[in-house]
């Protein structure tokens, strides 16, 4: 399945052509090389997992995909076009949204306000309109609220929409973060360890939501995850990283039987 | 040698000594910040309070006499004794340690883990409180402080420079004395924090409260120790400045002057406080000497801040501070 045409999966989902391509990415922080010459791609509509032992460089890779980190070497192609280096706040306008390993919600605001911040790039009313409020600004606020409320319904967090986020338990915070990412109606969703710290039930809920997002909205999803069961169940293809290098790339079954991957997880020493 | 250059040298030397004093005050801040992450805006007011207490004890003032007289209609002012400086200083140190303990227990124990800006604002509140309290306790009129420090123009320097440059430098004995004391204190503090067990514990606390707790460091003890040392430094600074210009409200503005010193040097660096103090001390005086007359004078009011601001724009962590890395 290495052609650039799309295909249909066993369960009827359509996976399109390549939407994101990372070519020979090398990322350094001072003396530390976090990512060494990695190449992989993400297809439209698929769920792509990035896995690997701790410290492999997965979060950094996600930051490169989203455009927050600019690699010293290599190129990123988004929809076939080479992506020029952009400022971090401009990245969001490309239609890429992400969640974070350690929750990055705005603790001073309510759930609804947090979700609404996901749409800030789409809210265009100027300062003057907002100062007057009635008319254009109010109209825009109501429209964007409708979109956010649909996301809130979808993720079943209606009852806490006015609760200050700081008061929520960990699992709900993660869900709110997902809601904020979804509110921007992204084409590509990056999830950094969405199941971290959850119990079995919460993981099942979150997995269901991720699958629903991919199924209903056709959103392409790239996620970092440690729970192998989740990875095998959810993803279409997997990239395996270790010590900043790519050591596996393929379907979950292919990767599961890859000797290099097994070695990495069992801790066989290498240089 | 041209006259202007000679004058500039004198200004430079005076600036150096002012700088040492700034460094001393800044050190008090660095210590507290290193140990607790708090920038203690109240340090200046504490210096004022220390000086006022010293004078009050030495002169035998009745604490809160103003208030007592107002409530009871009495006219008490003094106990009638005059104590020697040494006893005064020792008593004041004791009082400052008690103050440190109180501040720690009543205020900062409850603010563990808050953001730096909240802690900062708490110290502003503390500064206001201490100012009112100090005035209430000892009265707000200017007091003369005399602990027997050498004062007046240093004649040896005056004569020597006159012989070399045809112009006698005016360097005050008090400033020289202050510089020496400050240098000793600074050296002592550096040795203490780097080479003693307590100093290491203090640095551990500065890095990470939780981690320090987990290796058995008593936060309370360290904090009280740090605030006491800071209080002692405040006392020394208070004595120096107080002898020079009298014990009055403007002493508390020292805190404000220390801020740009710390911004320049980086809040967590002891050498930074020293270098920052010297740069600002010299810079201020030289700027006022050269550019001041062209733009109206009194530039010392703002020069330090603008300089620190410019440095921070290019190096947000200050000259010696640790680089601030933010990760998501």
């Amino acid at each position: 399945m290495n052609n650039s045409d799309g295909y249909v999966t066993d369960d009827g989902r359509t996976i399109g052509g390549v939407v994101m391509e990372m070519k020979n990415i090398t990322l350094r922080f001072g003396g530390v090389t976090a990512i060494k010459d990695i190449t992989f791609d993400i297809r439209e509509g698929e769920i792509r997992a990035i896995i690997g032992p701790n410290g492999a460089g997965k979060s950094s890779m996600l930051n490169v995909v989203s455009g927050f980190y600019v690699p010293q070497e290599g190129e990123v192609f988004f929809r076939g076009v080479k992506r020029p280096p952009v400022k971090p706040f401009e990245v969001a306008r490309q239609g890429i949204a992400r969640t974070f390993q350690n929750i990055a919600l705005f603790e001073g605001m309510s759930v609804l306000d947090n979700v609404m911040t996901g749409r800030l790039t789409q809210m265009k009313a100027g300062i003057l309109s907002q100062a007057i409020w009635r008319g254009k600004a109010e109209q825009e606020e109501v429209e964007n609220r409708e979109i956010c409320e649909r996301v809130i319904d979808f993720l079943e967090i209606q009852s806490i929409r006015k609760t200050p986020v700081s008061r929520l338990p960990y699992g709900l915070k993660k869900r709110v973060e997902l809601a904020r990412a979804l509110a921007s109606e992204p084409k590509l969703l990056l999830l950094d360890e969405p199941m971290a710290g959850m119990n079995v039930e919460e993981k099942e809920d979150m997995s269901r939501f991720i699958l629903d997002v991919n199924d209903e909205f056709g959103t392409t999803i790239a996620l970092i995850e440690h729970d192998m069961g989740v990875v095998m169940d959810l993803s279409d293809r997997v990239v395996v990283m270790d010590y900043g290098k790519k050591i596996g790339d393929g379907t979950p079954d292919e990767v599961r039987n890859n000797q290099a991957v097994i070695d990495a997880y069992l801790g066989v020493s290498h240089d | 040698m041209p006259d202007q250059l000679v004058y500039a040298m004198e200004v430079f030397l005076n600036g150096l000594m002012a700088g040492v004093l700034y460094a001393l005050v800044a050190l008090g801040f660095v210590l507290i910040y290193k140990a607790s992450g708090i920038f203690n805006y109240a340090q200046g007011v504490m210096a004022l309070f220390a000086a006022m207490t010293l004078v009050g004890v030495m002169e035998g003032q009745v604490p809160f006499s103003h208030l007592i007289n107002a409530i009871l209609g009495t006219k008490v002012h003094h106990f009638g004794w005059h104590l020697p400086a040494l006893i005064g200083i020792v008593s004041t140190v004791v009082i400052m340690v008690v103050l440190a303990w109180l501040v720690q227990r009543i205020i900062f124990k409850h603010l563990v883990g808050q953001e730096p800006i909240i802690l900062f604002m708490a110290t502003i509140g503390l500064a206001y409180f201490m100012e009112g309290f100090g005035d209430m306790m000892w009265g707000s009129e200017i007091k003369k402080l005399d602990v027997g420090l050498p004062q007046g123009i240093n004649l040896w320097i005056d004569e020597t420079t006159y012989n070399i440059f045809d112009y006698g430098f005016f360097i005050d004995n008090l400033d020289i004395f202050a510089t020496i004391i400050a240098a000793i204190l600074v050296g002592g503090l550096v040795i203490f924090s780097q080479y003693t067990k307590e100093g290491r514990a203090m640095r551990a606390v500065a890095d990470d409260h939780q981690a320090a707790l987990s290796v058995g460091v008593s936060l309370n003890f360290i904090w009280i120790m740090v605030w006491s040392v800071a209080g002692f430094v405040a006392l020394v600074a208070g004595i120096m400045w107080g002898t020079k210009s009298g014990v009055q409200f403007s002493l508390s503005l020292i805190a404000l002057k220390a801020l740009p010193v710390l911004m320049l040097g980086g809040f967590t660096s002891i050498p930074g406080a020293i270098v920052g103090g010297l740069i600002i001390g010299v810079g201020e005086k030289l700027f006022e000497f050269t550019v001041g007359p062209l733009i109206g004078g009194a530039t010392e009011n703002w020069f330090a801040y603008v300089l620190a601001l410019l440095v921070l724009v290019f190096r947000p962590q200050g000259l010696f501070g640790e680089k601030i890395i933010e990760r998501v």
Binding site: A97, M109, T121 | G125
Partner: protein, 358 residues
Amino acid sequence: MFYREAGDFSKTYREDSQTFPIRFDRYRYYAVLLIAFAIIPFFLNDYWVNAIFLPFLIYSIAAIGLNILTGYCGQVSLGTGGFMAVGAYATYKLMTSFPEVSMVVHILLAGGITAFVGVLFGLPSLRIKGFYLAVATLAAQFFLVWLFNRVPWFYNNSASGQINSPERTLLGVPITGANTEPWAVYLFCLVFVALSAVIARNLTRGAMGRKWMAIRDMDIAAEIIGVNPLTAKLSAFAISSFFVGVSGALFFSVYLGAVEVGEVFGINKSFLVLFMIIIGGLGSIFGSFAGAAFLVLLPVLLKNVLVTGLGWPTDIAAHLEFMIVGGLIIVFLIMEPHGIAQLWRIAKEKLRLWPFPH
């Protein structure tokens, strides 16, 4: 029992995002407006206006301004005094250079000029954060005070260095100078306050407010989700400084009438307004009013009780004020960082249920 909320629910998002969704609150708000505009002016005298109402109104505007910058956007500023000075001196130069133009125009222009200066001094906020920024704003504070002290153009070369507000009228009624009536100056300021509150409320409840709060809560995450930190921070500085400038303009032209910059707009002024928003409640328009009211009334209260009532000397009252204010700051920071506004919110929550416990 006071809050009869049964049947009072929002059917549209528009209704839900009102300032006062609960009907009872709305009526209370209209009542306050009625009393403020239509009833109080008839009961004013010089003392009430000068000791209480004018400072309260004018400081409210400053507090709203600082709250936008510090409470909503998280950029701590200790330069409020300096920016009020900009508003005051801008007004002075405008008044003396264009005596025929209406005061309303002058005040708004002064606000605009202050907004511009605010953006200038706000530029470092792009590199400097947290309380390093607070200290950097001191540069603005000290420099501006020095500027208005030392550059004679600002005070029209007057020998004393003081600026005085000449008489100006609005619709034929004097609102500055020596011949003003209490109700006239009160209403003039009240209108500015009402407009400021409405505009601030509108800006903070929408996209702009969310951008500011996102920057305050976690500026890196805000950037990642698409908030431009440059425009967000500078807009906060601009709008905040506009309000502070208007406040300074009114403070000079209507309230004090004569100003010597070092005394009136020094660093103590900056602290005063900061204390207002801490005690009143960071990130709350109501809190700005509450804090301003508190810190205007406290010295008046102390003076009346201690000096007039008990006959104590005035300096003791002053010292006590310092102790109380300082102590309250600490108490609020420890126990209720959201200030009086939060206490009020909690009280209202309890009132909604009263007499039931939960």
